[in-house]
Amino acid sequence: MMYFPEEVLEHVFDFLSSHRDRNAASLVCKSWFKVERWSRHKVFIGNCYAITPERLIKRFPKVRSLSLKGKPHFADFNLVPHEWGGFVLPWIEAMAKSYPGLEELRLKRMVVSDESLELLSRAFPNFKALVLVSCEGFTTDGLASIAANCRFLRELDLQENDVDDHRGHWLCRFPDSCTSLVSLNFACLKGEVNLGALERLVARCPNLRSLRLNRSVPAEILCKILVKAPQLMDLGAGSCILVPRSDSFTKLTSAFLNCASVKSLSGFWEVTPRCLPAVYPICSKLTSLNLSYAPAIQGNDLIKLIRHCQKLQRLWVLDCIGDKGLAVVASTCKELQELRVFPSDPYVGGNAGVTEEGLVSVSIGCPKLHSLLYFCQQMTNAALTTVAKNCPRFTRFRLCILDPKRPDHMTSQPLDEGFGAIVQSCKDLRRLSLSGLLTDQVFLYIGMYAERLEMLSIAFAGDSDKGMLYVLNGCKNLRKLEIRDCPFGDDALLTDVGKYETMRSLWMSSCDVTIRGCKVLAEKMPRLNVEIINDKDLIEETPDDNQKVEKMYVYRTLDGPRKDAPEFVWTM
């Protein structure tokens, strides 16, 4: 083996930005392992219970940036009780002792208390970036600590969190000396903020590139902000209630005219649709547009706006866009790569919404499309087959037909063939969510063709254990499998127990797995945590082993059963 001085190795490793590459490098030999671990500054932990903070610190002594994910994905849909876990405090406490140089913390689906935020703000003098996605447990008091104490804060990014909003004064806690902000996103906060403090903060941060406001910020203030920060590249508007052709409307239009750099637009929690033309000046440069929180923008107003956005790469909308609107997207947005269509009103169906027609037109008009999330009323195998042919580059394909188990509405057949076409055609598919009426056949196709598949979400599908087995046997790169309301039981679960150590996690709820099955799995695989979440009224002292398990969450771990599990979570 050729001898490289460690400094050279470290310099070479600097060029390895992906975690997987660095992980691979660390396995080559002891010397590489050592150099790599001392020079690793960024770590990503996909399941906070896979290892303890202590183990992280022992392996990587010089971490500056940590990303952590907590609850399983189905927690997003209220399937995981609030007190399940995913607390960040132990991590912050451990890092406070060992990582004085910590600069960045990114959390997803974790419980973050005000105490954690206070500790975070005081323990790391160089702290620069806090990103919280789908987290809960904190209030604006915690944000006040971050604002007040993090002297070099560059990024405060709050996405879709459940925050208890006490008052609007947290913004005032940014000291006058804070001029380093590059990104500020408080769109998910529900309460008022001090608008004067906001304006002054924006005015003194010349590097501010990304600003997302919440609904309490009115149009007049947005206008003043745009005048003070014409260098913005990413804007989330708050409320945009204006009288058309009024003074304020004219001022806002000219403010937008001056914003030559805005590429990404979102927000519009409330808006006077007839004032949307104020935004037209920036539309032709937009690459990302998120109107999925703007139900007031509908029909022709929405379509007119989209006609101005020829450079769009990412579009998130509500299904009130309709098939007609999607046809406009198809003819206008030739660069489109990612499309998400959310339901505006999932329980009252009928005329609103999109169908397979809209999806087909987009697949014809937008050949670069590779990422899709589509909530629709109905689908057909023919449409899916056409989409598969037109867009073979899908990496993420999530289709949600609102009515569970709905068949092809033309032929009344299951949608096995349609999804089969998708997995056969899209060789790079990494993420797939299924819906509609599906038999074991679709899983046979997935096992056969979806070689690169990493994450699969299944609901109300399949006929027998064979379905699950096709997937477990076939998908070599599977990392996350989440299943609800399918007839898969202990046989499917236990046929290849070693598989689960190659995966991050497995979720099964309302299936046919029993307590006995879980016990057997836990016994055979000591490096898995097999957790059973009991709905409160089903807790029994000595449950019958034959009882079906309502919710099971299995994940690999190096550190055994977690110590913070609440009483309704049993680790087998």
């Binding site: 849909f77 309460g191 999925s292 929180y293 329980y347 169906g349 609102l402 007839p487 309302s510």
Partner: protein
């Protein structure tokens, strides 16, 4: 087959030879009451629409029988139920005047969750108005008292009654200079 499946779940998974949306049309007919009720409407003060019992039953069964479906993340659901679009949450616009300010404003009381939210709104709305020589930081700002006219036409001091009672009975607001208090007959 799954055992103990709620009746609503079986119903919606039933294969039918009907037009798409027919089931929903049936539900629409059953409603018969004014306005659309969204099943995921999470009222913050915990009030469920008592009047829409039938609707609640049907939609509730769909909602309760299939927890977590459709897979829309809970943040988005909560946001949807609290945002206003046609036929959604009531609005309660009231006029707000401030002594010395040249024109009035209108605010929607239902946008605020309590008195502290409201006082911050006052600060935001009127803090930028140069009211004579008074500006936001001036200690004299605290010489202003917010009062409101209630259903009976009486002028009351803001803050005495619970928030919900206030929003129900408030007809208009006035931010009054304390020195003017003799002009208005304010109920104690």
């Amino acid at each position: 087959m799954e055992k103990g499946v709620p009746a609503g779940l079986l119903e919606i998974t039933e294969l039918r030879l009907g037009l798409p949306g027919e089931r929903d049309r049936v539900l629409e007919e059953k409603k018969g009451k004014k306005g659309k009720k969204r099943a995921f409407c999470e009222d913050e003060d915990g009030k469920d629409g008592e009047e829409d019992d039938d609707v609640d039953d049907e939609l509730g069964r769909v909602k309760d029988g299939v927890v977590g479906w459709p897979p829309i993340c809970s943040y988005r659901q909560k946001t949807k139920s609290s945002c206003r679009n046609g036929g959604g949450v009531r609005v309660r616009y009231v006029k707000v005047s401030m002594d010395g300010a040249p024109f009035l404003r209108k605010i929607d009381l239902n946008m605020y969750r309590g008195y502290s939210d409201l006082s911050l709104a006052f600060r935001n709305i009127f803090g930028y108005l140069r009211v004579g020589d008074i500006s936001e930081k001036d200690p004299k700002f605290s010489e202003y008292k917010p009062i409101y006219e209630d259903k009976d036409g009486d002028w009351m001091l803001v803050g005495d009654v619970p928030w919900e009672m206030f929003t129900e009975s408030c007809r208009r607001l006035r931010i009054m200079k304390s020195s003017h208090s003799t002009e208005v007959d304010v109920e104690a």
